[in-house]
């Protein structure tokens, strides 16, 4: 059974295309802000569907979205956050695990492809992969930064969208500076080998973990969908 969340997301993406540019920006900001909350992902997509529906009907009646939703979109989102179903501990754990496994998996794959490991595999038939302190530190920073950036973006979606140039410039400079530090760590500490490992072990572990988490998540979302029906 396909993940109902993905189905709903696709439906919403189709609906989004019918929105005016102005309404699309408003809905995007609202959904982005809702993602900073503890509302579960399936509920956020449901809210997105309903808000988009409201906006589309308003468009057809030649009304503005603020005629329907009021002027304070952030306050409306806060009300929705307060009244909606909150994520359970299980849902939170699945979400964090998914992001961690996906993030670490991607960085690990990049490490294989852009280090000597790939040459060792194909040229010498050696599966040993050197784990450097640079890789560990930069992976740690990358994951922490990704979480922080996500939180910053979602919590400040309205402010960032209001074309507050100063905030945007500060954010871009900060973002670039932090990533430069991460890359410097990777480059200059790259040669300090801590230990070597057969690259297949983490690959298999991460792949199994990813599939398992994805299946548990799909199962959980589909169960929520059944209770909604």
């Amino acid at each position: 059974m396909a993940n109902q969340l993905e189905k709903l997301r696709k439906e919403n993406n189709v609906l989004d295309k019918q929105l005016s540019k102005e309404n699309n920006t408003i809905i995007m900001d609202m959904v982005c802000y809702l993602r900073s909350s503890d509302l579960c992902e399936y509920d956020i997509e449901n809210i997105r569907k309903e808000l988009t529906g409201m906006a589309l009907e308003a468009q057809l009646r030649n009304e503005n979205f603020n005629d329907v939703a009021g002027d304070d979109y952030k306050a409306l989102c806060d009300e929705l956050m307060k009244n909606g179903r909150q994520k359970t501990l299980y849902e939170k754990a699945l979400e964090i695990l998914y992001v961690l496994v996906y993030g670490i998996g991607t960085l690990y794959l990049a490490e294989i492809l852009f280090s000597s490991t790939i040459i060792n595999i194909f040229k010498f038939g050696q599966f040993a992969m050197p784990i450097t302190s640079g890789f560990l530190v930069s992976t740690f920073f990358a994951v922490v930064i990704a979480f922080s950036v996500y939180n910053y973006f979602t919590k400040n979606s309205f402010e960032l969208s209001n074309h507050n140039r100063k905030t945007q410039i500060i954010f871009i400079i900060g973002f670039t500076a932090v990533w430069t530090v991460v890359l410097l760590f990777r480059v200059f500490m790259g040669k300090t080998v801590l230990w070597s490992i057969n690259f297949l072990y983490p690959t298999v572990f991460l792949a199994i973990a990813f599939v398992l988490i994805k299946r548990l998540e799909d199962q959980h979302v589909n169960n929520i969908f059944k209770t909604y029906k």
């Binding site: 529906g53 409201m54 009907e57 009021g70 009244n83 909606g84």
Partner: protein, 109 residues
């Protein structure tokens, strides 16, 4: 100045339950009915979080149905516990409105 939001929330919840108990309906129509009965400054955005809350408390349930205007609409139905909640709201409102009216008609001695 008097903060009307708290009073409005509880009152609106009761009124929304009553409207849904009479007829299966959707957000915009509920808003039009409430405005028609004299609730000023009510918008769909005002009642939407309340509908989410009522749904979470299992007092109402919803299903999407095709709409002649745009995408499918979410129609709301009252549940058994919603009817019980509405009955207790009506009883409480009657008693409290009598009490409040008596107090508000008092004159300064």
């Amino acid at each position: 100045m008097f903060d009307k939001s708290q009073l409005m929330r509880g009152t609106l919840e009761g009124c929304i339950l009553k409207i849904i108990s009479l007829e299966v309906t959707y957000g915009y129509e509920i808003m039009i009915k409430l405005t028609g009965y004299g609730f000023a400054d009510i918008r769909e955005g005002t009642i939407y979080p309340l509908l989410v809350r009522l749904e979470k408390k299992d007092l109402i349930y919803a299903e999407f149905r095709p709409s002649p205007l745009g995408p499918s609409r979410k129609y709301y139905f009252i549940t058994k516990s919603g009817i019980e909640a509405l009955n207790s709201f009506e009883a409480y409102w009657k008693s409290i409105s009598v009490a409040v009216s008596k107090i508000l008609t008092l004159e300064v001695k």
